[in-house]
C-alpha cells in the first residue's frame, strides 16, 4: 500500500505563500520513522493585490522554510517532479497548495495509524532572523548566520484554531545549543519528540553571551542608552586608528545584539487557519555555564558584556583596544551571581511573566584526584572549577522555591549515565545525554501547558 504524502493547508491572509521545489532530507526508498524530517522547502510570501500597509509578516526573518515529516514510519518514495533541482529548489516559484503530493510512503506497519489522514504531513516551520541581511546563503536548513532561529509545528491539527503554541526561548551557550537545535541545527529532534503545539526560539551566544547581567541590561535599556553605546563604540574605534574589516563586523554584530531584547520578542506564526502573532515566550531556558566569574562592565555607561574567549578572536585590534580601555573587569562571587539571577527572574516576571528554567553545571570530574584541599586557598570556589560548580548549583536551589525557578539537573544526569562518556569536558553532551535533556525540557513544557 502506498500513501500519498500531501503538504496540507497553510494560510496568511492578504498573501500567497510560495515554495521552492522540494529538497529531500532522505534518500529515495529510505526507511523513515514517524515524525522524521524527510524534506523541506524555502518559502516566500507575496502580497495579494495592493501592498499592505506596515511591515509584512516575517519582515525581520528572511529565512523561512518548512520541514515535512510523515505521521507513520515506512519507505519514502520520491515524486521526481517535486524536485526540479538547481535554483528551482531554492527560489519560491511554486504556489503552496494543500493537495500537492510530495511523494509516497509505504507504511512499515510498526505503529498504529494516527487519527485522521495518515498521508497528511506534519509541518515544522523554521524562521531565521539574519545577523545581517548580507548573509544570503542557500545551503540546507536555517542557513547562514542567524541572530535568532525558531521553529514551530504548523501542520493541520497541530495547533488548535485560536491557540498559540507554548514557546521556549533558549538563552544559553553551547550546553543548550545542541539540546534545543539538534544535530542539524533545525529543531528536528524536538519536532520528532513532541507533537503538542510548541515553538522553540534559539539565540546564539555570539558575539555576546547571554549572562544574566547582559539579559537584564537588554530588558532595561532605553533608546537613549543604546544611542550612547553606539556613539561610544564609534568613538572607541576612531581612537584606535584604522579599524579592520574584523573590527567593523564585530562592532556591527555587537550593536545588533545589544539593540535586541529577545525576552520581549513576539512572534509571527503561519498556520493552516491563517497568520497569528504570539506573545513573548512562555518559558526561558538559561545556562548556568553562561555565568562567568568575571565580566566586563563599561566604565562610564555601566552596561555589561560577556564575550566567550573563542569569540574574542573574531575582533580586530581596534575592538580589542576599545574593550581593554573602555571596560573594567568585574569579579563575581556566587552571591553576586545569585543576586543577578534573582534580579533577572524578577524583571522577566514583571515584563512578560515567563517561567525560567536553567541547566545547572556538572560538578565532578573523573580526571581529578584531589586527596586534600589544603593546598588550595580559600575560597576554594575561586580556583577549583568543580567546587565553584557545586556552590553555583546549590545557589540555584536557594533561588528556586521563592521564584518558581525550574532546574534541569545536568549534574545528576551526567553522573547517572557516566560523565566521562557523555559529558567529557563538563560542557558538551553526547547524543544520548541530549535526548535525556530534551525529555526533561519537554516534560517541563507539558507541565507549563497544563498551567496555561
Amino acid at each position: 500500500m502506498e500513501i500519498p504524502l500531501r503538504l496540507g493547508p497553510l494560510k496568511v491572509e492578504g498573501y500567497t505563500i510560495h515554495r521552492s521545489g522540494v529538497r529531500w532530507l532522505c534518500e529515495a526508498g529510505q526507511m523513515c520513522r514517524a515524525h522524521q524530517a524527510i524534506a523541506f522547502f524555502n518559502l516566500t510570501l507575496e502580497p495579494v493585490g495592493a501592498r499592505q500597509k506596515g511591515p509584512s509578516p516575517f519582515a525581520e526573518e528572511r529565512e523561512l522554510q518548512v520541514v515535512c515529516a510523515p505521521r507513520v514510519g515506512g519507505r519514502v518514495l520520491y515524486d521526481s517532479a517535486a524536485a526540479p533541482g538547481g535554483y528551482l529548489s531554492v527560489l519560491g516559484i511554486n504556489l503552496w497548495e494543500a493537495d500537492t503530493v510530495l511523494g509516497h510512503l509505504e507504511p512499515d506497519g510498526s505503529a498504529a495509524e494516527p487519527e485522521g489522514d495518515p498521508g497528511q504531513l506534519r509541518l515544522l516551520m523554521l524562521a531565521g532572523r539574519r545577523m545581517t541581511p548580507l548573509v544570503d546563503v542557500h545551503s540546507g536548513l536555517l542557513p547562514g548566520w542567524n541572530g535568532r532561529s525558531r521553529g514551530w509545528w504548523c501542520g493541520p491539527g497541530e495547533t488548535p484554531v485560536g491557540e498559540t503554541p507554548v514557546t521556549l526561548l533558549s538563552l544559553g551557550i553551547c550546553d543548550v545549543t545542541g539540546v534545543i537545535m539538534g544535530e542539524q541545527c533545525a529543531f528536528l529532534e524536538m519536532f520528532r519528540a513532541e507533537t503538542a503545539p510548541t515553538q522553540f526560539v534559539f539565540i546564539p551566544d555570539h558575539p555576546i553571551a547571554p549572562a544574566a547581567p547582559v539579559l537584564l541590561d537588554q530588558l532595561e535599556r532605553t533608546d537613549a542608552q543604546l544611542r550612547a553605546i553606539t556613539t561610544d563604540l564609534q568613538a572607541g574605534l576612531a581612537r584606535a586608528g584604522t579599524p579592520t574589516a574584523n573590527d567593523w563586523m564585530f562592532a556591527g554584530t555587537m550593536l545588533a545584539t545589544l539593540e535586541q531584547c529577545p525576552i520581549r520578542d513576539s512572534y509571527d506564526l503561519i498556520s493552516p487557519s491563517g497568520f497569528t502573532k504570539s506573545k513573548p515566550a512562555n518559558a526561558i531556558l538559561l545556562s548556568l555555564n553562561s555565568e562567568p566569574p568575571t565580566m566586563l562592565r563599561h566604565k562610564t555607561l555601566g552596561y555589561h558584556i560577556h564575550i566567550l574567549r573563542h569569540h574574542q578572536n573574531a575582533a580586530g585590534p581596534a575592538i580589542r583596544n576599545w574593550l581593554a580601555t573602555a571596560f573594567e573587569s568585574v569579579p563575581r562571587t556566587t552571591a553576586d551571581i545569585k543576586k543577578d539571577y534573582e534580579s533577572l527572574i524578577d524583571a522577566i516576571a514583571k515584563s512578560t511573566g515567563a517561567r525560567v528554567l536553567v541547566l545547572n553545571r556538572m560538578s565532578t570530574s573523573g580526571d581529578e584526584n584531589i586527596s586534600t584541599y589544603a593546598p588550595f586557598d580559600s575560597p576554594l570556589s575561586a580556583t577549583l572549577a568543580n567546587i565553584a560548580s557545586k556552590e553555583l548549583n546549590l545557589m540555584l536551589h536557594d533561588i528556586a522555591p521563592g521564584r518558581n525557578l525550574a532546574i534541569i539537573d545536568i549534574d545528576a544526569i551526567a553522573a547517572d549515565i557516566g560523565g566521562s562518556e557523555h559529558l567529557p569536558d563538563g560542557m558538551h553532551q553526547s547524543r544520548e545525554m541530549q535526548e535525556i535533556l530534551r525529555a526533561e525540557i519537554l516534560h517541563f513544557l507539558n507541565d507549563l501547558r497544563l498551567e496555561r
Binding site: 574567549r309 573563542h310 586534600t372 593546598p375 588550595f376 580556583t383
Partner: protein, 109 residues
C-alpha cells in the same frame, strides 16, 4: 586528546617542593581546537604530593606537550643525573581549575 598546553609554571629547577605545592597549570582540548568553534577545553592544576626536588623542567610556558611527554625530572636532591631514565613517576594530585588571567591563554595573550 593528544596534547596539553602548559599554561603556568610555578616551580623552578632546584626548588624543593613539599606536599601541596603547585607545579603547573595546563589545559587540554578534546577537539582539534578550531579557533571560532566552542572548543572543549578543560584546565587542570598539578599539585605535588611528596617532598621532592625539581631538578629539570623540560617544558616552557605556552608549550604544547604530547601525551606521554616527559615534562620534568625530580630527585631527592637538587644534584644528580638527569640523563638517566626515570625510576618512577612522582606522586601528584590533579585538580580541575577555573581559567585565570595568569595563564598563557589568559589576559596577556
Amino acid at each position: 586528546m593528544t596534547e596539553a598546553l602548559i599554561e603556568c609554571l610555578y616551580a623552578a629547577p632546584g626548588s624543593t617542593l613539599k606536599t601541596g605545592d603547585k607545579l603547573l597549570d595546563l589545559s587540554v582540548d578534546l577537539s582539534g581546537n578550531f579557533a571560532q568553534d566552542c572548543p572543549p577545553i578543560s584546565y587542570f592544576r598539578i599539585i605535588i604530593r611528596e617532598a621532592i626536588v625539581l631538578r629539570e623542567l623540560r617544558v616552557a610556558r605556552g608549550e604544547s606537550c604530547p601525551v606521554g611527554h616527559l615534562i620534568a625530572l625530580f630527585g631527592s636532591t637538587a644534584d644528580g643525573a638527569t640523563d638517566q631514565p626515570p625510576q618512577r613517576g612522582i606522586r601528584i594530585a590533579t585538580a580541575g581549575i577555573i581559567h585565570h588571567g595568569g595563564m598563557w591563554t589568559g589576559n596577556d595573550h
